[in-house]
């Protein structure tokens, strides 16, 4: 396996993290040097028997000194906080055009599904200079996807999606490891992040044997699992039409309004009684244990594709307002 160093700077964000890190190293180095040299200096000058002058230290001065260094420390620390936090806040917003890759972790492997439908194990191929958003979940314990070159890591949790995004600026093969202790083979739950030029990526993607579109696979599931029996617009069962549901505001029977994003759709499939849409009876069975995480990924991809399809009218959700204030 040819892997570049752990510390290559894989993204602009990684460069910023490094910058912050080294400035912190310099500040800490200076403070440590100050303390160390004071200790050494005092130890030498005021060793027993030296002829240094040792008078009392005036109470008032000592008080001023205390207040002085307390305030100085406080301001220094608050400055570091502000600086680190503002860097962080700037990185919170995911670009809207991010390429979405699904990652399912289990003891002790990473299963990856590309938006084009290609499946990978312990490898993630991404194009260079394109924002990539990883949508991750775990089938068993907590794992953590660690991309050292991106200076990113994020716990991968069972029963829930967590996200990471980055824009790679450097092609190559980089490390990908698990950083949250997950049992026996935790240390070998590793893989590769392969960053390719956009054209290489497109070529690679289409050459994959399973490059059947995720959404198309999801559509097949939608019929084979029987979802269409109720949710098809022509069905006689009173169930919400799902066209355009993704990203919309959904009014629930208990008065709440939620945005139908991945997490909502996931819950609606696994735990249908949790959020009942206003105007519908709670008749949908739970698909917990019936669909796997991989199948969920496909189903949700299909539902998302229904929102982007221009030909279908979006009469989907009763009482649903247009998706104001909703991103993605």
């Amino acid at each position: 396996m040819t892997t570049d160093s752990f510390m290559a700077v894989g993204s602009d964000y990684a460069g910023k993290v490094d910058e912050t890190f080294w400035i912190l190293v310099i500040i800490s180095g200076l403070i440590t040097a100050l303390v160390a040299s004071l200790i050494a200096g005092f130890s030498l000058r005021y060793r027993r028997g030296s002829n240094a002058w040792r008078g009392p230290f005036p109470e008032r001065v000592s008080r001023d000194v205390e207040i002085g260094w307390t305030v100085a420390t406080l301001f220094l620390f608050l400055f570091i906080f502000w600086w680190a936090a503002s860097n962080q806040l700037a990185a919170l917003d995911v670009p809207g055009n991010a390429l979405e890759i699904h990652v399912v972790a289990k003891q002790w492997m990473w299963r990856v599904q590309q938006p084009g439908g290609a499946r990978e194990i312990n490898e993630i191929h991404v194009p260079e200079k394109v924002p990539v958003r990883l949508v991750m979940t775990s089938e068993d314990v907590i794992h953590d996807l660690f991309l050292p070159t991106m200076r990113l890591k994020q716990d991968v949790l069972p029963g829930r999606y967590t996200f990471l995004w980055f824009t790679a600026i450097k092609t190559g093969v980089f490390h990908l490891t698990c950083a949250e202790y997950c049992g026996t083979d935790h240390s070998v739950m590793a893989g590769r992040l392969v960053v390719m030029t956009a054209s290489d990526y497109a070529r690679w993607s289409s050459a994959q044997p399973e490059a059947d579109n995720l959404a198309r696979q999801g559509e097949a599931l939608f019929y084979s699992l029987g979802c269409s029996g109720c949710h098809a617009p022509t069905s006689s069962v009173h169930a919400p039409d799902l066209h355009g549901v993704y990203g919309r505001a959904v009014h629930l029977s208990d008065g709440r309004v939620v945005t139908a994003d991945e997490a909502y759709l996931r819950d609606s499939i696994l735990l249908p009684l949790k959020d009942i849409v206003v105007g519908f009876a709670p008749i949908m069975p739970s698909f917990q244990g019936v669909v796997t995480e991989d199948e969920l990924v496909k189903l949700i991809a299909y539902l998302k594709s229904l929102s982007t399809s221009p030909t279908l009218p979006s009469t989907a959700i009763e009482g649903g307002r247009a998706g104001t204030g909703v991103k993605q």
Binding site: S28, S43, F57, S62, Q88, R151, K153, P158, R160, C178
Partner: protein, 558 residues
């Protein structure tokens, strides 16, 4: 171990030392004397220190090569889990409070004993019971959850003896609550006449504040472990994601204890160092009141920063920022303390006996440990550094470089008081310097490899980290030697050491005004206090109390 000492001391003067007040094993196992309970604790935690040490020695040996030497991954996981559990709960948490705290708190405030002597003994027996569970876990095959017991790994997936291990920690938690209750009640109710709050030595303040943390944090640990046990044992879904449970809730509960627990470990260390540095600098502590307020501030704010362990766990971004902010705030009082210790040296008459060497080492290592804490409090840095060797190095700087150094400083400082014997100064200085060097050799490389992306709890690792791992392992070997040495020269001192005078360091604390070792009732009459601690300056050199006469005459001929 001490019988040899007692034999001839007891015959000397009418009120025998606490060591001479009964020679049978039963007299030790049923004692309610805080000094003897301190000895019982000291023996137990020393035992566990070396068990935990052996576990990590094997781990460091295994890590000499990227593919390991002789352990399976399961065995490796069990060893580091055991190391964590034992070192945290069976050594570090009780280390200074249960030994030196128990021994010195009543002496320093001029009391005969702690407030509830029988509760004190009970706390030791709880420790022993918890220890029994842990030993059972150890011999039946260990536990593989790490010391953090994260759900759902611990509840559903771990293959080790999770319930037994959790039971051990649960029980030992109550031992630390009992100690905390005892210390707080003692500090409030049993101070000698004239011993006002602002005349208390900083060690007493440290014991007081650490007890506060123990009493208020430990029950949450107990409950979170109980919840893990009921989920694992009875299948009740508490953190089970398939039934709506949230594994992050466990982390909130766990770190609500375990972050303050770091301060349970470091506050007493700060107390010890605050006693040792003034004594060997012959200078009053700089900024006494600020030191007190800093202790209190740390004890309170330490409860509000736990979320910085969870920046990548799936916590909300807002919570990340809140916890990051509070974590920077809690660093301020710690920094103040470092500056004050340093300033105490100013215009002193400094000598460099072993306790002082350990204490100065503490200040340096704690400074590095504290500053790297700032890295981990900054969200973007933490995202890269958390769960890596950077974190390992950081908390070992605080807990080993900090707490263990201070523990050694205190042990050397009060050894003459506790045992009535002097130790070999030359060997002790050698051990102190070796500790400092070995420590840095072990953990400095871990900062480097951590930042370079070496994740923690890894049995196999990429080849590029091997050089750093080897350096670290060699450092660990030096450190091991430095920790075994005291065992040897302290043992020698018990048998052949020179008899200690009542006040070998010419220190001002109240504990030095009674004989070495102290009589069973500590003082032959309760002292009256008319001055604060640390009056080392030539101009105001007065003892804290009027009762200067030690119980036994100071005729210390070796």
């Amino acid at each position: 171990m001490t019988d040899a000492v007692i034999g001839d001391v007891a015959a000397e003067t009418p009120p025998p030392s606490y060591l001479g007040a009964g020679h049978t094993l039963l007299s030790w196992l049923t004692t309610t004397d805080h000094k003897r309970i301190a000895i019982l604790y000291a023996i137990s935690i020393t035992f566990f220190f070396f068990i935990g040490g052996i576990a990590i020695a094997l781990v460091r040996l295994e890590l000499m090569t990227p593919q390991g030497l002789f352990l399976t991954s399961d065995a490796y996981n069990r060893l580091f889990s055991l190391h964590g559990i034992i070192m945290v709960w069976f050594f570090l948490v009780p280390s200074i409070p249960a030994t030196m705290g128990n021994f010195l708190l009543p002496l320093m405030i001029g009391a005969n004993d702690v407030a509830f002597p029988r509760l004190n003994l009970l706390s030791w027996y709880l420790y022993v019971l918890g220890a029994a569970f842990t030993i059972y876990t150890l011999i039946s095959g260990g536990v593989d959850t790490g010391w953090t017991f994260y759900a759902p790994f611990s509840t559903n997936y771990a293959t080790g003896y999770v319930i037994a291990a959790a039971a051990g920690v649960f029980v030992v938690g109550f031992s630390s609550i009992a100690t905390g209750v005892n210390f707080i009640a003692t500090a409030h109710m049993l101070r000698a006449p004239g011993m006002t709050w602002f005349r208390l030595p900083l060690f007493v303040w440290a014991m007081y504040t650490v007890s506060l943390v123990m009493v208020l944090a430990t029950p949450v640990l107990a409950m979170s472990l109980l919840l893990v046990v009921v989920e694992r044992g009875f299948g009740l879904p508490i953190f089970d994601a398939t039934r709506g449970g949230d594994p992050i809730l466990f982390q909130h509960l766990f770190w609500f204890y375990s972050h303050p627990a770091v301060y349970i470990m470091i506050l007493p260390a700060m107390g010890v160092v605050s006693e040792v540095i003034p004594c060997f600098a012959r200078r009053t502590i700089f900024g006494y009141t600020f030191m007190v307020y800093a202790l209190i501030a740390i004890a309170v704010i330490s409860f509000m920063v736990w979320g910085h362990h969870m920046f990548v766990a799936g916590q909300s971004p807002l919570a990340n920022l809140v916890f990051s902010f509070l974590s920077f705030i809690v660093a301020v009082p710690s920094a103040i303390k470092v500056f004050n210790w340093t300033a105490t040296l100013h215009r002193g008459q400094i000598t460099f006996e072993a306790p002082m060497l350990y204490a100065l080492g503490f200040v340096g290592l704690f400074t590095i440990g504290g500053l790297t804490g700032l890295f981990l409090a900054s969200v973007p840095i933490d995202i890269h550094a958390t769960d890596s060797y950077f974190v390992i190095a950081h908390f070992h700087f605080v807990m080993v470089g900090g707490t263990v150094s201070a523990y050694m400083a205190g042990l050397h400082f009060w050894w003459p008081k506790i045992t009535g014997r002097m130790y070999s100064e030359a060997w002790a200085r050698f051990a102190a310097i070796t500790t400092f060097l070995g420590f840095n050799a072990t953990f400095m490389p871990q900062f480097v490899m951590g930042w370079n992306g070496m994740p923690r709890r890894y049995h196999h690792y990429p080849d590029i980290f091997q050089a750093w791992h080897v350096m670290s392992s060699v450092g660990a070997l030096i450190l091991a030697v430095a920790y075994v040495l005291p065992l040897v020269y302290f043992g020698w001192s018990l048998l052949y050491g020179r008899r200690a005078p009542a006040n070998p360091w010419n220190a001002t604390g109240l504990e030095w005004q009674t004989s070495s070792p102290p009589p069973k009732e500590n003082f032959h009459r309760i002292p009256r206090i008319h001055a604060g601690p640390y009056r080392y300056h030539a101009s105001d050199r007065l003892p804290m109390a009027d009762d200067r006469t030690p119980v036994r005459p100071q005729g210390e001929t070796p």
